[in-house]
């Protein structure tokens, strides 16, 4: 899911990464609305809200929204920064896993803070929503960066547009036989459905798990980060075994 880059990624890699990250983004977004009355991955909406607040002369609220947008920006910036700066310094898997780990830590911080320190003040709400916006920026930056912008898990405006374009393209028979277009359609549809499923799960899950919803998201992120660690380990073991088998035979 994480160790391959750009065109080396398979459809299966992208679907797994897209589905899991979109599911976690949907969960975080809905849990955040339930707890804080604020979205965390709805950046398009925040640009409109920013303009609205500024036009009403609500400088404070406008500044808060601008900070959330900037934190999302910094998250995406940091993701790609780690990926491109890490090239040649450490393994590709490590570069790709660092943003997931940072996202994991941000969401874990929110869950722990809600459980042990939260006093329902506005300042705390603003900071915690900021931490989640940063986490969503990290995630969107990572998925878009490593998949050559094929996977964008929180960008549902663009995704809906792309889906609509693909559906209209399928009105021509030759396009229906184009495997690249069909694969893209499957990927986008998977992201859309898992995002909605994550949202539903986040909303319903919050009724039973409350702040545990954030820990559950952390668990999904751990699966994403450690899946390739397990895979790399398995491949290494297979190679070592083959090596052991081949080397004595050559003597």
């Amino acid at each position: 899911m994480l160790r391959k880059y750009s065109n080396h990624r398979t459809q299966s890699d992208n679907i797994k990464l897209g589905a899991l990250t979109a599911f976690s983004a949907g969960m975080v977004n809905v849990a955040s609305v339930t707890v804080f009355f604020a979205f965390t991955s709805n950046i398009t909406g925040y640009y409109a809200v920013l303009a609205q607040e500024l036009s009403k002369g609500n400088w404070y609220q406008g500044a808060v929204v601008l900070l959330w947008i900037l934190l999302f920006f910094i998250g995406s910036f940091l993701s790609n920064f780690v990926i491109i700066q890490g090239k040649g310094r450490w393994s590709q898997y490590i570069s790709h896993a660092i943003p997931v780990i940072l996202e994991f830590l941000s969401i874990l911080f929110v869950g722990l803070y809600l459980d042990f320190f939260y006093e329902n003040s506005l300042k705390e709400t603003e900071i915690l929503v900021g931490a989640l916006a940063f986490a969503m920026g990290l995630q969107n930056g990572l998925t878009a960066s490593i998949s050559n912008s094929v996977v964008k898990t929180t960008h549902l405006t663009g995704l809906t547009t792309d889906l609509a374009i693909l559906v209209s393209m399928f009105s021509k028979r030759e396009n229906r036989r184009n495997q690249a277009l069909v694969d893209k359609f499957h990927l986008l549809l998977t992201i859309m459905l898992t995002y909605v499923a994550g949202g539903l799960f986040g909303g319903l899950g919050y009724l039973y798990l409350e702040n545990g919803t954030f820990y559950l998201t952390c668990a999904i992120l751990l699966i994403i980060a450690l899946y390739d660690f397990y895979k790399i380990g398995r491949i290494k073991r297979i190679f070592e075994r083959r090596n052991r088998e081949v080397v004595p035979a050559s003597y």
């Binding site: 604020a38 404070y60 910094i74 603003e126």
Partner: protein, 162 residues
């Protein structure tokens, strides 16, 4: 202008926006601070979104009665938002035991009793003198109750003037 300069300008712009927004958040009065004090209810208006104006007028009286019955406990007269997060009615001696919390970007006012949410209002406008709250209702018709409140000191000064 060279690309290097443009890239540096990009970083500078992000830094300026970040610092500027942080300064505003740190030094401007937040809705949580602005709301503290006593506010006098000056208007309760019903605004429906799926009824024609003539039918609306006919419905208005009956609806108002029903809706107001449902939000009777919110008809406080004078709302006193204390710093410790409690909401009192300054017109009645009885303690309301309600708590107030501001959420989102400072645009949602939540009232709670014994930890359970009683009502959530959209803060439509908040300034030193005026507070406008919107409450969504869905009784017979969908719509909004607009509650307009004014800072008590301001209404007292106006009464003295008269």
């Amino acid at each position: 202008m060279s690309r290097d300069v443009l890239v540096n300008l990009n970083y500078l712009l992000v830094a300026i926006l970040l610092i500027g927004a942080s300064i505003v958040v740190m030094h401007f009065e937040s809705p949580e601070r602005l709301i503290q004090g006593e506010w006098v209810e000056t208007a309760w208006r019903l605004e429906k979104d799926n009824v024609s104006s003539t039918a609306g007028e006919q419905l208005q009286a009956g609806l108002r009665k029903e809706i107001l019955q449902n939000v009777e406990n919110l008809h406080l007269g004078v709302w006193r938002f204390d710093e410790d997060g409690t909401l009192q009615s300054a017109t009645t001696a009885q303690k309301s035991e309600m708590e107030w919390i501001i959420k989102g970007r400072g645009h949602v006012l939540e009232l709670r009793r014994a930890g359970k949410t009683v009502e959530s209002f959209q803060i439509q406008q908040i300034s030193k003198d005026r507070l406008v709250l919107h409450l969504n209702f869905d009784l017979q018709v969908k719509g909004i109750i607009e509650i307009v409140l004014e800072r008590k000191e301001r209404t007292d000064q106006y009464a003295k003037k008269i």
